[in-house]
């Protein structure tokens, strides 16, 4: 751990200015990911700008939906009555992540921007393109149980670990970002990148850009939604595969659907192909399976994680089936 300075920002603009002008500065949320990385030598910032106490800690109802402040704690968001009522999948995704203590500390922005749990990324004694571009990817040919089956590259096969982000991507969330040049809004799905040749970049954010809020547009049928997380350990572990789904049924037919996968790619994976395949189809197990297959046709598992393909398929089918049964 290298020595560093600490600044508690008074307002968002001050925080942005402080980080923007200093290449070694980073924002600090709850610190549950960043501080670990500092101890491990994975991150070596020379300044922490604490944004966890900015007045961005409220969940507000807007004309179009909900606006979640960047500093809202994971446990508070999961317990919020409007979240539980309007998008239960988000509450469930949050509660399936980490532990009670961690969720009490972790912030919404920090959760979105947490880095991969690839064990090689977290171990500075091994090569890793994400940590040290050009050094090589140790996961390829190594321990791949928690690695990607979709959208990976020769440079990096890591997955994004967040559960919350999977539900948010399914909900068409929009991220509000404040930068040195002003504010911008972008769909959460576009915040994340695939690794390609620059796996060191998880997102499209520029240095000094601060996430201030996440907007969740109202999606009435998400009141019946689910998050299913499959993992080795019953709690306190990352997804092998997870599925966030909301289903809009018209009798026995799928009027609309939202589907996203976790644990399978460098970003929370919106399953657009499966969604397309399902719209207008009967809500049957066969149709669910065909939709899952449409999405997973592009899967390229690694030696050691082949199981994720059938696991993802089965979990998609099971989640949609449960939602259908709930809807009867």
């Amino acid at each position: 751990m290298i020595p560093f300075e600490y600044l508690r920002a008074g307002d968002p603009a001050e925080a942005v200015a402080a980080v923007a002008e200093r290449p070694g500065a980073v924002f600090l949320g709850g610190g549950t990911n960043l501080v670990d990385h500092m101890k491990l030598g994975v991150a070596e910032p020379d300044m922490l700008v604490d944004v966890s106490r900015l007045p961005l800690d409220r969940v507000e109802e807007t004309a179009t939906g909900l606006r979640v402040g960047a500093a809202v704690r994971n446990s508070d968001l999961a317990a919020h009555p409007l979240v539980r009522e309007r998008c239960p999948m988000l509450a469930r995704a949050l509660l399936s992540g980490a532990s009670g203590q961690l969720r009490n500390a972790a912030t919404t922005a920090g959760n979105l921007l947490q880095r991969t749990r690839c064990p090689y990324f977290q171990d500075v004694t091994t090569p890793c393109n994400k940590r040290e571009p050009g050094s090589g990817c140790s996961a390829i040919g190594g321990y791949t149980r928690y690695h990607a089956i979709l959208g990976a590259s020769e440079q990096c096969v890591a997955v994004h670990p967040s559960d919350m982000a999977v539900a948010m991507v399914a909900l068409d969330a929009v991220v509000i970002v404040l930068g040195p040049g002003g504010e911008r809004a972008l769909p959460l799905a576009d915040l994340y990148r695939l690794p390609g040749d620059t796996p060191q970049r998880d997102t499209v954010l520029e240095h000094g850009e601060l996430v201030t809020a996440v907007e969740l547009p109202d999606l009435p049928f998400a009141r019946r939604s689910a998050y299913r997380k499959v993992r080795d350990r019953t709690s306190y572990s990352f997804a092998l595969v997870s599925v966030a789904a909301a289903l809009d049924l018209d009798g026995g037919t799928v009027r609309d659907v939202r589907l996203a996968l976790g644990g399978v790619a460098h970003k929370p994976w919106r399953a657009v192909l499966a969604e397309e395949e399902l719209r207008g189809k009967p809500a049957t197990e066969d149709a669910f399976r065909r939709a899952a297959d449409a999405e997973l046709a592009a899967a390229r598992p690694l030696p050691g994680n082949e199981f994720k393909v059938p696991m993802a398929r089965n979990t998609i089918v099971a989640t949609l089936r449960d939602l259908t049964e709930e809807g009867r």
């Binding site: 090689y120 140790s138 350990r233």
Partner: protein
């Protein structure tokens, strides 16, 4: 003659409970000392070769850094026989993660930061860490852990297998596992150049250990001191599971560091990462089990052949197949152990070494044999329950395995087990039940002594350098002493955890209560013999552990039956264990409260072993890559549902004055097999490789 019970057998609360829950119990690293120095180790990042150059200029220049000690300037050790303990004595690297130096600083943060600035160059040599059964360099060790014979062969297994009506011949594997007690290994070392006498020892260690006396004698040897010149203090220990059973390299490193800053105490605590290369581990095992039986399920052959690893620099050969030697009656029996010496850290004791992995192989094979014979698995075990020890021919001091199985069956509702695997559903879940036997030998190690002193006004002190690593030993020893002296529990205080106390053997092999307890009984009796019931204040008497002639005449083992119910999600393969029940026969139970905690703790560790634990050794780098608690999975509360343990009400009259056989390890033995057998019953899928993870059960 047994002690008359008064508090023995009652659920006395832990004598150290209040200190622990209020946080005032000082563990080794907590020990307040004046002007401490903090140590952060440097570890090799290659698995084999030599340290070619060390650049510590930047580290040494950090404000607050006192020294960087490496093989270039570390004090020479007097005894380097034990290569694990031969720390910083040469430039050689024998495994990845090995100590190659230590940074000493005014704060732990500075030490850790500076350690990160040290640049090391190596002459790397190719390494080899992969255990396979087809390796050509497997060898037969001279003996296996515990001093057991490497191989046994009786009758003609091959012929019996060829002739048998029903056979099982399968390979079972268990992965490398790490003990991971909650409290990491930690030591505070003080080197006093002027000292050398018991009052002012040359070397004082506040250590987290299962045996103060063995750490003392080992370090005395390594540093060329007389044992009286060394004092090791360890009253509270936050778990060990065997990994703190003997001195490890960090003890030597801490002392070398203390010598470099003579006079100032040095504090060293391993990080969780470091625990994966420096505190022992369980070898992976590859076990071939062959069973032969006639149509009625009477066994004719048992063979258990284990392949495992050890480190190149120090041999530790796990006794994986030894338990099979006495378990079931079959005229033709063979066991063997073959070992590959690899460029890996030194393996060591982990709760029930031998039995824990070995009974996964044997007891899953028994389940397979039962199925092949069309017999209930309990019935198969009952038909093959030997009247006397098949290996030694000696009578049992008490073998109640079948009683445990039948008692457990009744309590668990075994008759409700689905007969045909994979046929019972509850919603989207497949449901099944499994059973396995467990056993653990009765050990009592010689070498303990206890002293009883009367302080006046009805108060006694009993001194013995024993260890309570969270087991409840402290409480149990107090109960034993109170009954042996015939006085109330509150009148006795037992002092443990200090090498200044009379010598005690290790808290290991489930032997603590029997070894130390029988020693205390002897000391109390000597005391009464000399002073009667009305001793003068200041009266003192001691005694050594008495011999137990029955130990040579009887075969003494504890037994148990483990039951598990599992539910497997038919879509995702996720496994839940809603119920586990253990029924144990362990001789007399001294304290039902702490005993239950040992049993269900062992069973929980067995559940963890069954479903979760696996150290992933990356053979390209030679180190364990999932080396933290987020990635090395251990059962959480959510995984552990209804785990219950009961025991037979008995006393082993051959097991010394306490009638007790030891309980610390048996809980883990067979637990993983019971779960694997339940998974088979639920799904029809036979998993022979641990851990059993959801991907293996996907359809």
């Amino acid at each position: 003659m047994t002690v008359q019970d008064r508090v023995v057998g009652t659920p006395s609360p832990r004598v150290d409970g209040r200190a622990k829950v209020t946080g005032i119990a000082a563990y080794a690293y907590d020990r307040p000392v004046d002007d401490p120095v903090y140590a952060h180790p440097l570890q090799a990042t290659i698995a084999r070769g030599r340290v070619a150059a060390i650049d510590d200029v930047a580290a040494a220049g950090v404000k607050g850094v006192l020294a960087v000690v490496t093989h270039r300037d570390a004090a020479r050790l007097a005894d380097t026989e034990d290569a694990e303990l031969s720390v910083l004595q040469s430039d050689e690297v024998a495994f990845r993660g090995q100590f190659i130096g230590v940074v000493l600083a005014e704060t732990p943060e500075i030490a850790r930061h500076a350690a990160g600035l040290v640049r090391v160059e190596y002459d790397e040599e190719p390494h080899d860490t992969e255990l396979r059964a087809d390796r050509t360099d497997l060898y037969a060790p001279e003996q296996v852990n515990g001093g057991f014979a490497t191989d046994t062969d009786e009758g003609d297994v091959d012929a019996a297998m060829a002739a048998a009506a029903v056979t099982v011949d399968e390979i079972y594997t268990t992965p490398m596992e790490h003990n991971n007690p909650m409290e990491p290994h930690s030591t505070v070392a003080i080197w006093n150049p002027g000292g050398g006498f018991p009052e002012a020892p040359r070397l004082t260690l506040f250590d987290s250990t299962q045996s103060v006396h063995s750490v003392r004698s080992t370090l005395a040897r390594v540093f060329g001191l007389r044992p009286e010149q060394v004092r090791v203090v360890s009253p509270y220990v936050g778990g060990g599971f065997g990994s703190k059973g003997m001195a490890h390299a960090h003890n030597v490193l801490a002392v070398l560091a203390a010598r470099a800053v003579a006079g100032r105490p040095v504090k060293l605590a391993l990080t969780r990462h470091q625990m994966f290369s420096l505190a022992g581990h369980r070898t992976p095992t590859i076990q071939r089990v062959r069973l032969g039986a006639d149509e009625a399920g009477r066994m004719t052959a048992v063979a258990h052949e284990a392949v495992e690893h050890t480190s190149k620099i120090k041999e530790f050969a796990e006794q994986t197949a030894v338990g099979t030697r006495m378990m079931y009656a079959a005229p033709n029996r063979r066991t063997s152990h073959r070992v590959a010496a690899l460029d890996v850290p030194v393996p060591s004791w982990m709760r029930a070494p031998g039995e824990a992995p070995g009974f996964f192989g044997l007891e899953v094979a028994m389940d397979e044999l039962a199925a092949a014979c069309g017999l209930d698995p309990i019935e198969l075990r009952a038909r093959n329950d030997p009247r006397s020890d098949p290996e030694s021919g000696r009578p049992w001091s008490g073998r109640h395995l079948v009683r445990c199985l039948r008692e457990g069956a009744a309590r668990f509702g075994w008759e409700d087990r689905p007969v045909v695997p994979g046929t019972r559903r509850r919603g989207r879940e497949l449901v099944g039940m499994g059973v396995a036997s467990s056993t653990y030998p009765y050990y009592r190690f010689p070498g303990s002594r206890a002293v009883v002193a009367y302080g006046g006004r009805g108060r006694y002190t009993v001194r013995i350098g024993a260890a309570d690593i969270g087991t409840g030993a402290w409480t149990v020893l107090t109960q034993i002493a109170a009954d042996a002296l015939g006085c109330p529990l509150g009148a006795v205080s037992v002092e443990i955890g200090d090498s200044g106390l009379p010598s005690a053997t290790v808290a290991g092999g489930s032997s603590g209560t029997t070894s130390w307890g029988s020693t205390i009984v002897a000391a109390c009796r000597s005391f009464r013999r000399v002073y009667g019931d009305d001793p003068p204040p200041g009266a003192e008497a001691g005694d050594d552990m008495p011999e137990n002639p029955d130990a040579e005449r009887y075969s003494m083992h504890s037994f148990g039956a483990q039951f598990a119910e599992v539910r497997v999600d038919a879509d995702t393969g996720e496994i839940r264990v809603p119920r586990m029940l253990g029924v144990f026969s362990v001789g007399r139970v001294i304290n039902p409260r702490t005993a239950r905690s040992q049993f269900i703790g062992g069973m929980t560790m067995g559940l963890s072993m069954a479903l979760l634990e696996r150290s992933v050794l990356d053979h390209r780098t030679g180190h364990v890559i999932n080396h933290d608690f987020a990635e090395y999975l251990i059962a959480t509360n959510a995984d552990v549902m209804d785990v219950d343990a009961v025991w037979l009400d008995e006393e082993d009259v051959h097991a010394g004055p306490l009638g007790a056989r030891g309980i610390g390890e048996i809980g883990i033995v067979g637990a993983a097999a019971a779960i694997a057998n339940a998974v088979h019953n639920a799904t029809g899928i036979r998993v022979r490789d641990l851990p059993i993870t959801p991907d293996l059960l996907l359809r």
